[in-house]
Symmetry: C2
């Protein structure tokens, strides 16, 4: 069994969450198991350890869990993107469609500088709306997004179409 | 200058956030600076690397940033505590008073098992309400809380009184 398939055994399927008819892929069993969590972190490290990334841009809040470990190991800056009203300083924001509604993502306006090479990390690629907003936030500040990395990709929701032309990497696909 | 004082130079003071009269201590400059972020992570690792902790219980969402790095380095399980409605599986919950209102914290009911020795991590000790709720969640499942660790402690808000009798560690105090 390869590492990606092995990881799947640590994802818990939760039917009808957050609403009826949705099958939620729960990553918490992979967080509580040290070997599974290390495997996720190592697969990301292996892919990006010599990629020339300047900053890791991470999406609240599950994205933080994987992005912070990678930022620490790479010795690169960690940039949190958060829901509106959470970041205390000057922010820029982007609104986007969610799988279940609409939302906005904020970034501190000094977090990305022109020329920064950025890796965007989130736990889940669903419709791609959140990641597309993150890319806009980075690019509007003059940064370039080298790749967008996810732990889980839900292929049926066609997030790759919304991120067309972008380099995308996911550890587990459904 | 000792490490804790050095870290203070990476905390940005933001007046009147989230409301008038509050001086917010913004950790994001310490996240974006790799040396400062490493220093925080190393100080936590140094304190807990041989502490016999079984699980790191971490409070959404800034707590995740530091807790995940420590859990990875210690090779221990990472348990996220989240706002209501975010965790998909069976949960237990605790309500508590916040500095600016009232909130509830949820934990998956299988996340902590009887006998688990737990370290609770959050970014900020303010009034201590959130941490006290986290402690209750752990203890109600039969776990013991060895210590509660914070990056920043706001001494004037007397969080230690609400956590009386608990072992508390903070990297930066105001």
């Amino acid at each position: 069994m390869d590492a990606h398939e092995e990881l799947k055994s640590f994802i818990r399927d939760v039917p009808d969450f957050p609403k009826k008819g949705i099958l939620f892929r729960d990553i918490t069993p992979a967080l509580i198991d040290p070997a599974a969590f290390s495997l996720i972190c190592d697969l990301l490290y292996k892919r990006y350890h010599d990629a020339g990334i300047d900053k890791i841009v991470s999406i609240e809040s599950r994205g933080f869990i994987f992005a912070s470990v990678l930022a620490f190991r790479l010795g690169k800056g960690f940039v949190p993107l958060r829901k509106p009203g959470k970041l205390p300083w000057k922010t820029v924001c982007e609104s986007y469609e969610l799988e279940y509604g609409r939302s906005t993502l904020e970034m501190h306006s000094d977090a990305v500088e022109p020329g920064d090479r950025v890796l965007v990390i989130d736990d889940l690629l669903a419709t791609g709306g959140t990641a597309a907003a993150a890319v806009k936030l980075v690019e509007n500040r003059g940064g370039t997004v080298d790749e967008i990395a996810f732990v889980i990709e839900l292929g049926a929701l066609k997030g790759r179409e919304k991120l067309k032309g972008r380099a995308i990497f996911s550890l587990i696909s459904y």
